[in-house]
Structure formats: structure tokens, C-alpha cells
């Protein structure tokens, strides 16, 4: 497993990591969970096995009590490999976006963004004078051929099998080559001390969000970007921006299952893309993004309405100084 290397900070995706390690070591777990599966199993085989519990003590268990257990969603997984057998995608319906910016503030809040550049941007777009303007939310595109990963000299930015492109900011050397390489300008850098308030969540209720809870805390001199909220996805929930959007712009889901949902409706990905003529940003570059866009047609609201929230020079709200 990846987390042999160091530090508890690395458990950024997994609260239940310890249990995870114990079960992953032998690929086995106590069968208390699985009694229902093996309801008609005979009463003990007489053979015993030695197992180590989470606190390190060795216990003797009847081997019939032990079953092989695959990794499950919501359980542990290799942070660098990703959640097995999944392929996460997002669809952004530009027709519905009115620049409400709820996605942005939710993302900023959940990830404790303290810099001047949000991970989630809503661009005011207009390709040419005669074409219609529209609002375009962007996250990291989680490219299948990510330019950022190719150029990283230390494998700090990496691509997982479940589609996510993540950053190990314990390893990043701060060369910013990935930022130069990303054609979507989605990466942000911690030029100085991020100054996030890291409150240790000791009561274990998991209610109080901390940077640990939402991902890795930012580190000075390393790079950050949208991470597709693996801490939510792991629990089977939707990324913050998806749930925060009042207009149902974002659909998130699994390409293998061919389903995406915006929280209100769940639809077939292939059908959605076909019916609404989905496309991807800068397709010609060959980066193969995991984010699809639906063109801004048949819009329910005026583009102009979005101007109300448009701030050309700000994407992260600053706390008002007293």
C-alpha cells in the first residue's frame, strides 16, 4: 500500500484507514460482518488462524470465521490507485448556469481555500462578437491524458484508475511545471503560507469540517486544484459543488455504470450526451477530459442575470477585516 511511506497526513481520504490496513494485509476480515453470507456454514472447522487486530494484539480465530473480502466502496482503497472499478465523470449543463456561484463558495468553504484563486471558476465566455455569451463553470477536467501528470518530475501529481487526478502535496517540489502544462489553467499555487485554520477534530463525530476532512490541508510552496471531492465520493455522496448548485447544473457519476446525477434526477450518461450534444473543452488538444459540457441552448434565464454576481477580480470571498 501506498501509505507505508509516512505520516498520518496521508490518510487524507480515509477515516477508517486503520481498519482498512488490517483487512488489507491478508485480504481477510473477521466474518462477523459476513455471517449472513455464510448462513449455512458448518459450526467451526476446528482449525484456527492468527490475526492481528487494529490495536496490534494477536488473536486466535477459528478459520471458518474468516472469509476473503474484496475492497468495497466506502471502505479503504489505495489512494494512488483509486476506488476500484469506478470511473468518475462530470457533466456540466451550460444551459442551466446563471452564475449563481453557489458551487464556487461551497467548494471554497469545504476546501478551506484561503488564496485568491478558486479551484472552481465560472467563466464569462463569448467566443466572438456575434456569438452568444454564456457562463461556463470549470473544475479540473480530470483528463485521461493529463498534461500535468506527464510533466511532473516527482510523480506528485498522479492519475488514478477511477479517473481522478490528485496531488500529493507532501511530495510536490513546487516547480510549477504542471501549471504550465495544464491547458485549462485550473491549478493554483500556495505562494505563501496558506494560513488555513486546522482544527483537530477530536470528538470523532466528523461534523466539524477541517481540511483533513475535506482533503489535504494546503501547504506552502505546493500546488492545489479541484480534487473531485474523493472524501465525499468515497462515502457515496456528491461533490460539494454539485449539491450546492441551486440550478442542477452539475451531474456527477460513474462512466462504467453510465449514470450521472445532479442530486435531483439521475440520468444515463450516454443518453444525456447524445440528446444534448455533449462535448469536452479543448477536445483538439487530446487531453481526454472527464468533464463533459452540454451547450448553452434553450436557456431558461438571461445571460445578463448572471452579471449580478460576476466579479472580474475575485473568486474567493475574503473575511471582512474588523
Amino acid at each position: 500500500m501506498e501509505n507505508n511511506s509516512k505520516k498520518s497526513r496521508r490518510k487524507f481520504l480515509d477515516k477508517g484507514l486503520k481498519i482498512g490496513i488490517a483487512s488489507a494485509i491478508g485480504g481477510v476480515a473477521l466474518s462477523k460482518l459476513s455471517t449472513s453470507l455464510k448462513a449455512n456454514a458448518e459450526e467451526g472447522s476446528g482449525e484456527t488462524m492468527e490475526l492481528m487486530t487494529t490495536d496490534g494484539t494477536i488473536i486466535q480465530v477459528d478459520s471458518s470465521e474468516v472469509v476473503e473480502m474484496g475492497h468495497r466502496h466506502g471502505m479503504d482503497y489505495n489512494v494512488r490507485e483509486g476506488i476500484p472499478n469506478r470511473k468518475f465523470v462530470m457533466v456540466v449543463d451550460l444551459a442551466k448556469c446563471k452564475n449563481a456561484l453557489k458551487c464556487q463558495s461551497a467548494c471554497n468553504k469545504a476546501h478551506y481555500i484561503t488564496g485568491d484563486n478558486a479551484w472552481m471558476k465560472v467563466y464569462k465566455m463569448q467566443e466572438s462578437e456575434d456569438t452568444a455569451p454564456y457562463w461556463m463553470p470549470t473544475t479540473c477536467q480530470h483528463c485521461d491524458k493529463p498534461a500535468c501528470v506527464t510533466v511532473c518530475p516527482v510523480d506528485a501529481t498522479f492519475k488514478r484508475k477511477d479517473g481522478l487526478v490528485l496531488i500529493d502535496n507532501d511530495r510536490c517540489i513546487g516547480c510549477r511545471f504542471c501549471m504550465a502544462a495544464c491547458p485549462y489553467s485550473t491549478r493554483v499555487f500556495n505562494w505563501g503560507d496558506p494560513g488555513q485554520e486546522v482544527t483537530l477534530n477530536l470528538d470523532m463525530t466528523g461534523v466539524e469540517p477541517t481540511p483533513e476532512y475535506a482533503g489535504m490541508p494546503s501547504l506552502k510552496g505546493t500546488v492545489d486544484k479541484c480534487d473531485f471531492c474523493p472524501h465525499m465520493v468515497k462515502e457515496g455522496e456528491l461533490p460539494h459543488c454539485v449539491t450546492a448548485c441551486p440550478n442542477g447544473v452539475f451531474y456527477f457519476g460513474d462512466k462504467y455504470e453510465d449514470t450521472v446525477t445532479n442530486g435531483e434526477e439521475t440520468v444515463r450518461l450516454s443518453k444525456l450526451l447524445e440528446e444534448k450534444a455533449g462535448y469536452r473543452l479543448l477536445e483538439s488538444l487530446g487531453t481526454e477530459p472527464s468533464v463533459y459540457y452540454l451547450p448553452p441552448v434553450d436557456r431558461l434565464v438571461d445571460f445578463e442575470d448572471g452579471m449580478e454576481h460576476f466579479t472580474e477580480f475575485q473568486s474567493v470571498e475574503k473575511p471582512v477585516k474588523e
Partner: protein, 438 residues
């Protein structure tokens, strides 16, 4: 014809005068200011620079590219002068090799200054990934440094032996050092053969490594999608640019060394004339690649490229662009066409302009491109829309330049800037030398 003792006396390193001391003091001052600024950057992080998420590289990188380019002079002089056995190279190669060593060493340091987490330098080795051009740089820069040190060192052996003897009475300590460095050089046939062979091998190596180094440097940029960098022309463009920067630096340094050490009898107008022609050739080749890089794309420019070219030709960067193109490229070609233009003093000024323009040229290659991303720049503070280096960046960058000059100065101080043995040989005095030795 001069006799051997006079040559040794003329060419042996000697103490600096008043001016030299002031010069070193100035360089040290600049370096100290730079170090203070760098420590501050280490503590506070790169917020002290004016780089931000869009202008994510600044003068640290353009300065790095400049150093890498200038270090190419060693490969050029070797390729053109040593291997082809041009007679007029003798008083020039040593200085070229010194510049190469100083520049490549500083290139290595500069790239580390740009790293926001220098404390994790070792990750470059522990977690090295071969597909990243930075890893190629990590391999080629130390390699090139070693080769250029060897190239400086091997031809020095006979000179060290001469200096050991020369200083044996006046400065026994210094003489001892030269003796150690000379590796018991006596000049016998066997030694000479090994030396000649080794130099030949190193000479071939430095040409290969030099071309590789420039190419990798170009790939650092052309492996991205960015407008203005995503060019198949980039590697030869960088190599020819390095040719110009290198020869420009060579001319300038040689002029100063010649005046400071009063070497007019050894580095003559004839040498400057030759160097002038070489520089003109370099500029012509570079001009050709510039046309390929800027003029031809203008015909089929895609939208992004069109904007990019417009900011260079007529927009925000136009003054700088035309300065580096006209003063740094066209003007030298014109001046160097004339015999009068190839006299030492005009050559010195041309060399200076070429070096300064080369430095800004790298700035022009890097900054405008970064500020023209594919998606619009929105939602960031207004100051992020442009870039000009901060005081910290200037202080640190000036310090790196001062450090390069200091390395050159110290090497000129302790090494014979013009090869003694070869000069003597060429003046047909080796016979005298041998008899005086026995």
C-alpha cells in the same frame, strides 16, 4: 618573437590591482544582498516574488535559460575551433571554458532558486520520473558541468607545471597548489599522448552534451500546449540562440580580460576580427530561426497565436521585442559586416548589447506566453493579469549574475586566462623551454 620567460611572466595569473579589488567587493555586496533576499523568500515563501498562478514562472526561469544558453559557448568554441584546429583559437578557448563552467554552475543554482520547496530537492532523485523534461535536466546539467570542468582542467595541466616552477621561489605555497593540480606533469611523450586523446574525447562529449542541454531546455517549454511554446522549431531555435548568447559573452569577457591583464600582444585585433565574423554568423543563423518562429506563423496564425504575435509586434511587449530583435540581432549583423565594426572596442559594445538582449530575449519567450492562457484570466486580482519582477526577484537574479561574474573573475585570477604552454609552442619556443628545464 618573445622568449619563453616573458610569455610566462605575461600570462601567469597575478594579483588584482585596486580596480580589481573594488570589482570583487561590488560583486560580493550584490551577492550578499541576493542571499538576504533569498533567505527571506525561503521564510515567507514565493509570495515575495511577483509570480502568481498565471505568470507562474518569471525571471528565475528566464535567467536560468539565459545561463544555460550562455554555457553553450564552451561547446561552440570547441566544435568550431578546437576540433577544426583553427590556429586563432589559442588565446580564446580557455576563457570560453571558464565562462561555460561559471554559467552551467549558476544555471543549476538558479533552477533551485525557482523551486518553491528546495527542502524537497532529493525527491527529484528518490521519486524521479523519466518522462518529465525536468528529470532530463537533472541528468544533463550535472553531466555537462562535469564535462566542462574536465575540459577546463585537462588543457591546464602543462600550464600548472609551468606555474609551479614560476612561483617556486616567490610564492611557495601557491606553487605547491599548482604542483598538486598539475598531477606531476612533465610533458613527456606518454603524458602528452594521453592528454591529447582525453581532450579529444571530452571535446566530442561537450558538443553532444551541449546540444542535448539546449534541446532539453527547449523541450521544457515545447512539451506544453502553450501558445508560443508549442513549437517544433524550438530546439534548433534555442541552440542557435545559445550560439549568439555564448559568443556575445565571450567577446565581452575577452575584451575586459585583455584590458585588465594587458594582453594586447596575445589577444590581437586579428582575433577580434575572427570573433566578429563568428558572432555575425551566429546572429544570421538565429535571425533565420526567429523568422521561422515569428514571421511564418503569422500567416496561418490560429486565434491564440495571433493574439500572442500581436502583443509582441505591436502590443505590450513590443518595445522589448523590437529591442531584442533589432539591437540584439539585426544591428550586430550590420555593424559586424564592416571591418571597422570588428575592432576590439566596437566589438565590446556589440558583445554587451548582445548579452543584454539575450537575457531579455528569454524574458520575452517566457512571460507573454504565460499570460495568454486558453481560458480567459478571470476571478483573480487585477495585478495577476501582468507580471514584472519584484525587488526580491531582482536582488536574487542580480546576485546570480554577480556570482557568475565572480566565478569568472576568480578563475581568471588563479588560472592563466591564455594558455601558456600552447602560446609558447606556437611561438616555437618549446625547444627553449625544454633546455631551460633540464
Amino acid at each position: 618573437m618573445k622568449n619563453h620567460d616573458v610569455i610566462v611572466q605575461d600570462l601567469a595569473p597575478r594579483k588584482f590591482g585596486r580596480l580589481g579589488a573594488v570589482w570583487i567587493g561590488l560583486l560580493l555586496l550584490l551577492i550578499i544582498i541576493g542571499i538576504i533576499a533569498y533567505v527571506d523568500q525561503l521564510v515567507k515563501g514565493q509570495v515575495v516574488t511577483n509570480m502568481r498562478d498565471y505568470a507562474l514562472w518569471g525571471i528565475y526561469i528566464s535567467n536560468f535559460v539565459f545561463f544555460v544558453a550562455t554555457s553553450f559557448v564552451g561547446s561552440v568554441t570547441v566544435a568550431i575551433l578546437r576540433l577544426t584546429n583553427n590556429a586563432w583559437r589559442t588565446p580564446l578557448v580557455r576563457i570560453a571554458e571558464i565562462i561555460t563552467v561559471a554559467c552551467i554552475a549558476m544555471a543549476g543554482i538558479t533552477i533551485m532558486i525557482d523551486m518553491a520547496r528546495p527542502d524537497r530537492l532529493l525527491n527529484l532523485f528518490i521519486h524521479a520520473r523519466l518522462q518529465s523534461p525536468i528529470t532530463w535536466d537533472v541528468i544533463i546539467i550535472p553531466t555537462f558541468l562535469v564535462i566542462s570542468l574536465l575540459l577546463l582542467y585537462f588543457p591546464l595541466l602543462p600550464d600548472f607545471a609551468i606555474l609551479q616552477k614560476y612561483y617556486s621561489k616567490t610564492k611557495p605555497k601557491l606553487s605547491k597548489w599548482y604542483g598538486k593540480l598539475s598531477l606531476k606533469w612533465t610533458g613527456n611523450a606518454a603524458q602528452k599522448e594521453i592528454q591529447t586523446k582525453s581532450i579529444r574525447v571530452i571535446a566530442v562529449l561537450i558538443i553532444l552534451a551541449g546540444i542535448l542541454l539546449q534541446t532539453i531546455d527547449a523541450w521544457l517549454f515545447s512539451t506544453t500546449y502553450r501558445t508560443g511554446w508549442d513549437s517544433t522549431n524550438f530546439a534548433p531555435y534555442f541552440i542557435s540562440g545559445a550560439f549568439v548568447a555564448g559568443v556575445g559573452a565571450l567577446v565581452t569577457v575577452i575584451y575586459v580580460v585583455r584590458r585588465a591583464r594587458k594582453l594586447e600582444a596575445y589577444i590581437t585585433e586579428y582575433h577580434f576580427d575572427k570573433m566578429g565574423k563568428l558572432l555575425a554568423l551566429a546572429c544570421l543563423i538565429y535571425l533565420y530561426f526567429n523568422i521561422n518562429e515569428y514571421l511564418i506563423p503569422a500567416f496561418t496564425a490560429k486565434k491564440g497565436e495571433e493574439v500572442h504575435l500581436a502583443t509582441l509586434f505591436t502590443g505590450h511587449y513590443a518595445p522589448l521585442f523590437w529591442f531584442v530583435t533589432i539591437a540584439g540581432l539585426v544591428l550586430p549583423i550590420i555593424v559586424l559586416l564592416f571591418k571597422k565594426g570588428r575592432k576590439p572596442l566596437p566589438m565590446f559594445f556589440i558583445g554587451m548589447i548582445v548579452v543584454i538582449a539575450s537575457w531579455w530575449k528569454r524574458y520575452i519567450i517566457i512571460t507573454p506566453t504565460l499570460l495568454e492562457p486558453f481560458l480567459p484570466i478571470q476571478g483573480v486580482p487585477e495585478s495577476w493579469h501582468s507580471y514584472f519582477p519584484s525587488m526580491h526577484e531582482w536582488a536574487i537574479t542580480v546576485a546570480t549574475l554577480a556570482m557568475a561574474l565572480l566565478i569568472i573573475t576568480l578563475l581568471v585570477r588563479y588560472l592563466p586566462a591564455v594558455p601558456i604552454q600552447r602560446t609558447a609552442d606556437e611561438q616555437n619556443l618549446s625547444a627553449t623551454l625544454q633546455s631551460s628545464e633540464s
